[in-house]
């Protein structure tokens, strides 16, 4: 067992699961979308992208690209959260929340591609 491979797979999967967990729920209901989960998803996605640096193969390049897309989507969502006015309860207005979640849903798609790539790569090696 290669520890580096475990770490790599762990972060890619964690990035996807956290992202998915955040997106899950009513799109405009702030109670369904945890700020902490979003924060964790962003951090893990950045780490996953950094882990993919420096792989010169074609598959490695696509891997890196999917992670960069996910980071970009999540950063856009974070910026939105950063600038959006908060309500009296300290949460976002439903319209803003919906925008943040939809951007995060885009990132989720990129993460799904990344996980699929990883599975395909593993399956190919088995053969």
């Amino acid at each position: 067992m290669n520890l580096e491979k475990v770490v790599f797979a762990f972060f890619i999967l964690l990035a996807a699961t956290l992202n998915g967990g955040f997106v899950y729920g009513d799109i405009d209901n702030p109670d369904h979308h945890s700020q902490w989960e979003f924060f964790a998803a962003l951090v893990v996605n950045i780490i996953a992208a950094v882990l993919k640096f420096g792989d010169r193969t074609q598959l490695g390049a696509i891997h890196l690209a999917t992670s960069l897309v996910a980071c970009l989507q999540l950063s856009a969502a974070a910026l939105l959260w950063f600038f959006a006015p908060t309500t009296a309860a300290g949460t976002l207005a439903p319209a803003d929340m919906a925008e943040v979640v939809s951007l995060a849903a885009g990132a989720l798609f990129a993460n799904v591609v990344s996980v699929t790539l990883m599975i395909v790569e593993t399956a190919r090696q088995r053969r």
Binding site: F39, V43, V50, L51, F53, G54
Partner: protein, 547 residues
Amino acid sequence: MRFSVVFIAFRRLRAPIITLVLIFAVGISGLVLIPGADENGAPWHMTFAEAFYFMSYTATTIGFGEIPRGFSANQRLWVTLLIFASVVGWAYLVASLLAIARDSAFRSAIEEARFARAIRRLREPFYLVCGFGETGALVGENLDRLGRRFVVVDMNPDRIDHLALMDLSQSAPALCADARLPEHLLEAGLAKPQCKGVLALTDDDRANLAVAMAVRLLNPQTPVLARAESAAIARNMASFGTDHIVNPFERFGAHLALALAAPASQRLIDWLTTPPDATFVPSKPPPRGHWVVAGYGRFGREVTDALRAQGLDVTVIDPDESSLPGVRAVMGTGTEPGPLRQAGIASAVGVVAGTDDDIVNLSIAVTAKEMNPGLFTVLRQNLQASSPLFEAFQADITMVPSRIVANGCLAELRTPWLTQLLADIRARDNAWAEALLEQLGSLLGSRTPVLWRVRLEPEFAPALAQAMTGQIRVPVGMLTVNPDDRTHRLPALALGLARDRVFRALPDADEHLQLGDELLFAGTAGARRAQSHLLSDAGDCAYVLGG
């Protein structure tokens, strides 16, 4: 290839970047979680945005000082920890960056990328010099003086550094790599149409052979000039059509033989091959009689053969050779009086010091000269660095292999057809050379001649080519008429005429020229300028032809 630099950098920076990301993440989490108190004493939490902002200016040690509110004791403790952790994180990243910058793999990747860009941007014709030792440096220096560009491939980084320190008028891209590998030759622009020639000048015969072979296969149109010190390698190179092979030892042997057999021919060749800005000092012809050759290596063998071919009596001194077929041999080193005396130095007319050690050679010459002051001395100088010693000794002939190879290559590059002319001179007799020397001497005095080629094509000689397409017949002599006063002649002489790639020396002055002919001229720089007017200026051309 181009991105390899970036990839290497990113790979190495993974760990420090992840460390920093984690420090940020933990720090931000703590800042958000730990409660502070507002002015009224009510508990208050930082938002993620505020925490990120605070973290950014604290972690980078900028310490902006703008904080949302005064911190509680818990917050202060956490921030203290953060400051230390983040400084360590940044220091780790900076240290990794510096390590990459110092890393040799990274640096060579950068050098290679820079070299590739320089080659891509090279739009002028250039020569590819493989091996930048003494010979390569001499050739490079002279190419630069002639205004030609060159590219260097050498696997010794010291020599690449030496190139960087040379005072060149135009930059010469250099690649520190093994020229034996074809990929490096291609990287250095072998396949580019601007590559006018390849010079294989390394001190390894087999490497030169590999280069010559690679060029023959990868870019057959490009001429190859190769240095070969062993006869077998030279034959091998010739077998697949290497254009020009220079064997310094064989060349020197031929030189010595010619100097003995036909001194005037040798003087003529020396005179024609002296670089234009150097002063020509005619060498004393070697005397006939008994010769002592100390050191019987590649050099000694060539010299002994050359001397014996001229019917001279030769004695060899060598530590390993006690008996040689047909030659009298003495065992010893030649640096001691004993073996020299035994070899008959007292009655000899000349001594050749030809070992591969400069100090030994000087020692032989000095000892021999003490025993017989009238000796003609031939010295082999292996290293350019020994020059001061050899200049101080003032041997009658100093043979420097690197200089012989460099001059051989340069003569070929500088003036096409010169090699053919020199071969012709060697083939003719002494009297012919004497006559030519006299003729050139009356034109030029003691100056060294400028040699140049004239191509009778519309592109290079528009006015004359125009006239020749009419019915006007132009004899060779017409090209040396002074365009300012047609009753006078320019101080220049047509040394050869090449028609359909066949070269003939000394064409008659009244021989008629054809379009497409190439001529080799020797003369003064002024004559060359005046002649170029005649070739390209319709008025001058008509004036000369009208007479």
